[in-house]
Every structure is written in C-alpha cells, then in structure tokens.
Symmetry: C2
Subunit: 260 residues, 2 copies
DNA sequence: GCGGCACTTCCGCCTGACGGAAACCGTGCT
DNA sequence: AGCACGGTTTCCGTCAGGCGGAAGTGCCGC
C-alpha cells in the first residue's frame, strides 16, 4: 500500500487541495488537468474531482483552451492577506511619490523564512528589465532588499543564511560570509544599503527598512532599482528613499496602534 | 441521487477547505478558531484540524494574539491569477502616467458575473475617501466602471441586471432600467462614461473600457474617481483617460498575441 | 475508420475524516 | 489561592466520503 511515497506523503484531504493549488506557481500559472495530476502524483480521477470542486467554488477557472488557472475568487480572498494588504495600502502613496520624484523602479518586499517575497512594485514604461515580479521569491541574501530584511531578522535566520553557501549570481555578488556579515552590520548602522550588481549585472539597488512605527520591528524593505549604467545616480536616491521609508513606517505605526 | 442539496450540503473534504478560506472575507480578515468554526458550521475539532493543516502549508498564518489570517503562501499562489496579473502588469505603468498627469484616484476593475471586482488602484495621500479597495466587489450596475463592463457584457448578463431592481445608493443613482439601458448605449457609442454620484454622494467617476487589442473583447474598465465638489474637472480627464485605456488595450493585445 | 490522447463518469473497497468528549491552558473575578 | 470561563488542543471509535482502477466519451489527425 502506497509504499514508496517517502517524502511525497500528502494523504489528507485538505492536503490534496493544497497540493493542487501549489502546482500553480510562477512557471505553471496555467496547466491542463493531466499536468496537475502528474505534478501532484494524484490519480487523474482524483485530480479531476478536486479540481471540479475548486472550480465550482471559483478557486480555479478554466480558460477557453481547456487549461486551468487560479480563479478570481481565490485571488480576492488572498488579496486580504494582512501581511501584504496593510503594507500595500499604506506604502503605495509613498511609493507613488517616490516614483514621481525619481521615475525609477520602486519595490516593496517582505521576508518569509530565508526568502524574499515581492509585494508591490511601481515601474514606468521605460524602466530596467527586472527579474522580479509581484509574488516572486528570492533567496534573502542575494539582493539589497533581502539583506536589509536579513540584517533585522531573528538571529537564527541570519546564522542559517550565513552558514549556507552563498550563491554567486553575478561576478560582483558577495559570497564571503565575513563580508556579508560586515555589510549587515553596516545596514543596521546606516539604515540603508547600496547594492551593486548583486543579483543581476545590469541593476543597482538602494534599499531601506520599513518599520512599524519609528522604532518598531522591521516589517518590510523598500527599494529602488536602477540600471547599472546609471549607478552614479544611486547616491541621490538615498535621501528620498529614506524619507519614503520613514513615512511608511510612521503611517504603519499609526494604523496598527489604532487597529490593535 | 444527491437530490436535495439545496444550500446546506458542504460535506466534501475540499469543500471544508474552501468553506474555511471563504470566511476570510473583507470583514473578517482575522478571526479566531472558534469564529471560523461558528461561521462555517463545522465542529471545533474539525475546524482545528483543517486550519492546522492549512497553516502547515502557509495558506493561513497565526498572529501574535492567536487569531488566524490568510498567509503569504496563499497570497503568492493567488497573485499569479492571470485575470489580474497580466492586467496589472500591463496596466500599472499607464495608470502611473495617468496618476502623474491628474493626481486623482486611478482604478482598474474586472467583471465577474454581475459584480465588479477591483483589481488595482493608485491613489495619492490626499485623495477622496473611497468605498472601494483592491479585491472588493460591487454590483455592476452601481458604478461608472461597472456600467462600462456591463455595456460590453454578454446579453444575458445585461438582461439579468436590467431585470433585477436597481438599488439607489444615492439620490442621484439611476434606477430606471430604461435610463440605464440608454446609458449603456451611450457607453458603447462613446467608449466613455461620466458617472455622477452614483455610488456615493461625494464622488464622481470617469470610466472607459480596456480591450484586448484595439478591437478585441472588453476585459476590464479603467476609471478615475474624483471628489464630487470638483466635478467640473471631469471633462478634462476624458482625454488622458481614453489615451491610457487605449494604451493598455494595445499592449494587452500585443502580449496575448505573442503568448497564445 | 481507427488509434491516440485528454477528459469524464462509475463504483466497490477501505482509509482517513468526523466530531463528541475530555484535558489543557491563560485570564479575570472573588 | 481557588474557581469559573472561553478558547484551544488532543484523543479515539465509528462510519461516511474519498480513492483510484477501469470503462466510457469526445475530439483530433492520420
């Protein structure tokens, strides 16, 4: 009976729903029933039944070509996720202003575990091509924004990241734990980081922490990403970035105080 | 069989997951286990088990005070919802420009059934207080943006809305089906609507359809919402709104062509 | 027509979900 | 301290609902 499912053991009913939903990741936003069955390891008939049920609820929708994708209803529910919603509501106007002042890519991200998740982004037509999009994940050590979050993360997280080998995304990526540790110290001192071509050869980022209230815990990172060829502009972005970040922090503090 | 499952039949396993997720609506973004059990009608122990499982997966998260809310993982998956994602990706830069030109509330919405769902919004610090937020639903007949979508919806939807009694949200809301029908005609002719205090006494909206390609099906509505007291400005917003809407339409057409 | 593919439906076996009940907290009141 | 209470967690016997193999359907393309 179901002998060899060592690590793939997801036999609970709720688990099946989650398994199926999880297949709809960045690379597979739209897939056929058989793909779903394949990727989850479920029997076709089982996948079919669950998918039908999810569809009946609006959690999945079917495209004209017969493939499935995440439905509007699920998006609605999920868009109420407080981690992102409060943050977005509060941050957007500030990001707005920042964009208007700089016309560069403005990004907002939170930490989950040892990864960075992008929550919101403002970009004009003619901005740099970015690897990142809303909802995508990156290892926390690889980007300026990630390092900001890492610098303020619980110690066990920091150690975990520093102990693991650091991947070199570009020729400039810091891979020496010592150097990274020093950089984290500096972030804590200066509340800011200028990150030069760490994730991609063509981009430079400036990033700062967003807190809950002026001195509260760090809940997100705000960053500006510019083309590496105009790296000289980075210096001028520090001031507006810090202003925006502390504006968001203050507003977050105000809201959570009254809410709680 | 399965004869009389009128409304109370929610006995499937996947159903329980969905029932629970559905409780996390606009008004209940954060709730305790007992609330969930109550609102779903599930036994406490059952709710507990399922919630635990969802939490194990990151679909739900627990706040410091012990209450539950939607988790980041679910948000990530759902943020891949094509209906909203493609739209947002394409539309944001244009909404951006539009905001910069007008400094008013810029909103983007899609239709689902006979309802309007807000997908994205750009708003400055000092903008009008709005009833709407990203992810919220409204009856499609009540707003300018909704009527734009209604005007281009399948006929059965149109009839369904026109046949049902129209709620008067304000003293100015159109409630006569004849008048509404005329307005829909006009929207189709002019590709634009100025909607005067239909949903709230304090706001006026200008809205236009967003298509897939220049002549494709209408997939969303783009709108600008301003304070009713500055209604005179509405006229000047028509041009930029139409420009932005057709910009988005063109870009959408381009992308879906290459993707498909 | 025929084989192949992707999806849908059927149905009997059996497992994993169900929920009542009881234990386990933390908190506030006396 | 003792107690009562609301919310949460664990346990476990019963049994209904999920499971998936297999057969049926519909749709190409050869």
């Amino acid at each position: 009976m179901s002998a060899t499912q060592a690590s793939t053991d997801r036999s609970t009913a709720a688990g099946k729903v989650l398994q199926i939903l999880s297949t709809f990741d960045r690379e597979h936003q739209s897939q056929t029933l058989s793909e779903i069955a394949q990727r989850t390891g479920l029997a076709l008939s089982t996948a079919h039944r669950v998918v039908q049920e999810l569809a009946g609820w609006g959690a999945l929708e079917r495209a004209d070509d017969g493939s499935w994708h995440v439905g509007l209803r699920l998006w609605e529910i999920a868009s109420g996720c407080p981690r992102t919603q409060i943050l977005r509501d509060v941050a957007l106007p500030f990001m707005q202003d920042l964009y208007e002042a700089t016309h560069e890519n403005i990004q907002l991200a939170v930490r989950e575990g040892t990864e960075l998740v992008f929550v919101e982004r403002i970009a004009g037509h003619r901005s740099v091509e970015l690897l990142t999009m809303v909802g995508s994940r990156f290892p926390i050590g690889a980007t300026g924004m990630g390092r900001v979050l890492l610098a303020h993360a619980p110690l066990d997280i920091q150690e975990a990241v520093l102990d693991a080998p650091l991947r070199a995304w570009t020729a400039h990526t810091l891979t020496d734990p010592k150097a990274l540790r020093a950089q984290l110290d500096r972030i804590r001192r200066e509340q800011l980081i200028v990150s030069d071509r760490q994730l991609s050869e063509s981009t430079v980022a400036v990033a700062a922490p967003v807190r809950i209230g002026r001195t509260g815990p760090v809940s997100a990172a705000l960053g500006i990403v510019i083309a590496a060829r105009s790296a000289s502009r980075a210096r001028g972005l520090r001031e507006p970035l810090l202003r925006a970040a502390s504006g968001i922090s203050d507003e977050l503090g105000r809201r959570t105080r009254t809410t709680a």
